[in-house]
């Protein structure tokens, strides 16, 4: 009897501890879900639309997200830049934020989506122990940003099927890829919420007559496509496919791969290579954007060791500085695809700066190949950021603007899945 009573008390005690754990974690989950990032838009941002303007059924969902337009008013090329397709690749988002805060457009038009999968940024990588936030050192203290997941939050799209069948290729992919924005292109207007977001992005590219479309990602250094431009050498013969269902690939009117190769060769500040988008792998931006629109498409990967999974303790410092002993050992054995040096690491500023300069090279080389797509644009580049870093200043923080400063009030913008009153 005494033993039964003791056991009962022990069970109650364990239950109470579990409830306390659940409550603490619940608060943290809620904070991550509802945290709002604020940025200060450049004076050159001329219009703000929403993903739901291109696919109305996204309205009032967690996949709706702002679309910023910087139009010079001078006829030229239209560039589309996609940030945060995978929220757990945060340099992609930071690059988009720095573009939005500092962009100057003299010719053509630039469209930027800084958080393409907003829902995915509202939870962590389950089982991978990601930090929730990271803080950028600025002159006014620090600005905190979210990291996120690779996939759409299951709170917004669930359950997963037992296999995901990409539309319209019919290719089978891993089940969780149904929530992976960069596996669901070209998307479906009435599909899952992630497919609708993919469809809306395709609609931006088609409706805004985008000439150059750039998708910003990060990749593990054990992955061959890290530090790489991926672009298609051939594109789908859409008419034939729609008529017969046969997938045949033809020479595009404008060759993205040529542009990407020249851009990669011309970059001398950091290591960048080039890969052709495979015809047989579907759902990815570099394949489907090119197949289902007339834009030249490019995907950029920076080296992000946090994604490698075989790292040491998963701290915010590791995410921000990228210094890891285990990956150094693996690199020393010649197993990585990036000349990793633990002394330098893969810091956030470096990865962000690579995206900024990588995108600029593409825009410039595209104009050299095809003069009607010329877009004259500027934002902070790798060299400037490296110089600032040499002075011991966080270059990301240097180029961010204080959202609380009175002079920035008019241009302050809260990034959320729906408009937020100022």
């Amino acid at each position: 009897m005494e033993a039964t009573k003791k056991r009962f008390i022990l069970k109650i005690a364990i239950l109470v501890v579990m409830l306390v754990f659940a409550a603490i974690a619940g608060v943290k989950f809620w904070q991550l879900r509802h945290y709002k990032e604020t940025i200060v838009l450049s004076e050159d941002i001329t219009d703000v639309k929403w993903l739901s303007d291109y696919c109305p059924s996204l309205k009032d969902t967690w996949l709706d997200t702002p679309v910023f337009i910087a139009d010079s008013g001078v006829e030229g090329g239209t560039v589309f830049i996609n940030g945060c397709p995978h929220p757990y690749e945060p340099a992609s988002t930071m690059a988009a934020f720095l573009m939005l805060e500092n962009i100057k457009v003299e010719k053509g038009k630039v469209i930027i989506v800084p958080r393409a999968n907003y829902s995915g940024s509202t939870e962590g990588m389950v089982g991978d122990a990601y930090p929730r936030f990271f803080t950028v050192e600025t002159q006014w203290g620090g600005e905190t940003f979210r990291i996120g997941d690779r996939y759409t939050n299951p709170l917004d799209q669930w359950p997963d099927p037992f296999t995901y069948v990409n539309y319209p290729s019919g290719q089978n992919l891993a089940y969780q890829d149904i929530r992976n924005l960069n596996r669901t292109y070209p998307g479906r207007e009435n599909g899952t919420i992630t497919e609708r977001a993919a469809y809306a992005i395709m609609e931006i590219i088609r409706q805004e007559d985008v000439d150059i479309a750039i998708d910003m990602h990060e990749a593990e250094i054990l992955y061959p496509v890290t530090s790489t431009y991926v672009a298609p050498a051939k594109v789908l013969d859409r008419e034939k496919f729609l008529e017969t269902g046969v997938m045949e690939y033809i020479e595009p009117e404008r060759n993205s791969l040529d542009v990407a190769m020249m851009a990669a060769m011309n970059i001398d500040q950091f290591f960048m290579k080039c890969a052709a988008s495979p015809n047989t792998l579907h759902g990815l931006s570099h394949r489907e954007w090119a197949d289902w629109s007339d834009a030249m498409t490019f995907l950029m990967e920076t080296p992000e060791i946090f994604i490698d999974k075989i790292t040491g303790p998963r701290t915010e410092a590791l995410l921000y500085e990228g210094k890891d002993e285990f990956l150094q050992n693996v690199t020393d054995k010649g197993l990585t695809y990036f000349p990793y040096d633990m002394e330098f690491g893969t810091p956030m500023w470096y990865r962000t700066a690579r995206h900024l300069s990588g995108a600029m090279e593409i825009i410039n080389w595209a104009a050299l190949f095809y003069d009607d797509v010329e877009c004259i644009v500027s934002w902070p580049l790798y060299e400037e950021m490296a110089e600032i870093e040499e002075q011991g200043i966080d270059s990301i923080g240097y180029f961010l603007k204080n959202p609380d400063a009175p002079e920035n009030e008019a241009n302050r913008f809260v990034i959320y899945h729906k408009p937020v009153e100022k």
Binding site: F21, K28, V126, A129, P159, R183, G312, R314, F326
Partner: protein, 435 residues
């Protein structure tokens, strides 16, 4: 002290706390959570930047939540289906009509491959057909231990069988490879290993007289007809096929809901007069049966999360991929299954992904290697701490003798599939004709 040294100490602490807790509490599931909490707390002191571990420990519970729900839903279906008398009627039918021992064992093997091939989960194969296969093999004079081996082995083969092989899918997703070309690469080794298992299990088994077997089997349920037997199974097959052939015209149901729908069909087809209270009793029993398994997969998630946070996962992964090629060839048959035992499907990410990238660096055919790894990982489903499929197989046959004894008996078919897979890794070019 270096990060490598500190995480190595954490690894030792994790193993020690798991072993001690297992001895004291006699529960691998609780022991995994204990080990996770211990390394999370110690890790917090070793690496103060990690901060509070509460969130990632709780987050770990969600890693395998879908799998846990699948186990519950599939078990509800199977229990209602069995309660209706369908399984015993099928068993009687098969035993009455087929006289050839080898043909009967082969039919059992092929049948067992189907549920796992469609769902990617070997446990589902056991849930759906384990009872039936056990009864038939028993009638053929196969010992309890070998019955357990047969059910376990075909369950893991069914998980590895195309079209749905979760290990391959996770590795290809990580490596940006298309999930194409794997059908024959997986199916041929599975057929060879399956045939070896059939011979191994059936060798020397002396079927008892048919009358004896029929006496042991439950009587046909009154009112049970073929359409009542087929309809629940047909429901689940139709849902699977529709999800594959018309994925864009149907809402995503998810495996748990598919099994719940099939369970409702089974309930409607039940010829027995059954009260609501009796059905509640079935649900209650189902939860009792499946609770240890649910606890197991949820605990693995917590441990997985703590290992990731503290760098223990990184230590294991980076050590394994950094081994010389000869050592990888020699040890993959040990490391792969151990990794599966620890991480479940997570092993394709922790170990599979880095290995694929490494072999790719060496210019080897990674499609063949990916298929080979997908044949090796499922073997670990009989190893602790999780040993999910092994444990289910034991429960299904009522095998209560030494678990080590079961593992020893399973060694023959395991080596068959393992050696084929190792050959595929060492000489991938020999197998390229299969895709």
């Amino acid at each position: 002290m270096s990060v490598t040294a500190l995480t190595f100490i954490l690894l030792l602490i994790m193993i020690a706390s798991f072993v001690l807790s297992s001895i004291k509490l006699k529960s691998p599931d609780i022991s995994m959570v204990v080990a996770a909490i211990v390394i999370a707390v110690v890790g917090m002191f070793m690496f103060p930047d990690l901060g509070s571990p509460v969130m990632y420990l709780v987050e770990g519970l969600f890693v395998n939540l879908d799998l846990a729900m699948l186990f519950i839903a599939a078990s509800i279906f199977v229990n209602i289906y069995s309660y209706s008398g369908a399984v015993s009627t099928i068993t009687r039918g098969i035993v009455e009509k087929i006289n050839n021992k080898w043909l009967l064992i082969t039919i059992m093997g092929v049948l067992m491959l189907i549920p796992g091939a469609l769902t990617g989960a070997g446990s589902v194969a056991i849930f759906v057909l384990g009872g039936l296969v056990n009864t038939v093999l028993e009638s053929l004079g196969v010992s309890k231990r070998k019955r357990t081996v047969f059910i376990f082995f075909f369950a893991i083969l069914s998980a590895a069988a195309p079209p749905i092989n979760l290990w391959t899918m996770l590795m290809t997703a990580q490596a940006n490879m298309p999930y194409v070309g794997f059908t024959w690469l997986l199916l041929v080794p599975i057929c060879i290993a399956g045939a070896i298992c059939i011979v191994y299990v059936g060798w020397g088994a002396k079927p008892e007289p048919k009358e004896e077997t029929l006496k042991k089997l439950p009587e046909r349920t009154e009112g049970m007809t073929w359409w009542r037997i087929l309809l629940p199974v047909a429901a689940i097959i139709v849902l699977f096929v529709l999800a594959l052939v018309a994925p864009w015209n149907l809402p995503v149901l998810g495996l748990p809901l598919m099994f719940v729908i099939a369970a409702i069909v089974a309930l409607l087809c039940n010829p027995k007069k059954t009260t609501g209270k009796q059905y509640l009793g079935i649900l209650d029993d189902t939860m009792e049966q499946v609770f240890p398994l649910v606890a197991n997969v949820l605990s693995i998630g917590v441990l997985q999360s703590a290992m990731a946070a503290t760098g223990v996962r990184g230590l294991i992964g980076s050590t394994c991929v950094g081994l010389p090629l000869v050592l990888i060839y020699s040890l993959i048959l040990i490391i792969g299954p151990i990794c599966q035992g620890c991480f479940n499907y997570g092993c394709s990410v922790v170990l599979g992904g880095p290995l694929i990238f490494m072999f790719n660096t060496l210019g080897m055919d990674v499609t063949v290697i990916c298929a080979a790894l997908s044949l090796i990982f499922p073997i670990g489903d009989c190893l602790p701490p999780s040993r999910i499929v092994g444990r289910l197989a034991c429960e299904e046959t009522g095998y209560t003798d030494s678990y080590l004894g079961f593992l020893k008996s399973a060694l023959v078919p395991i080596l068959a599939i393992g050696l084929i897979a190792v050959l595929m890794i060492v000489k991938p070019l020999w197998f390229t004709f299969l895709y």
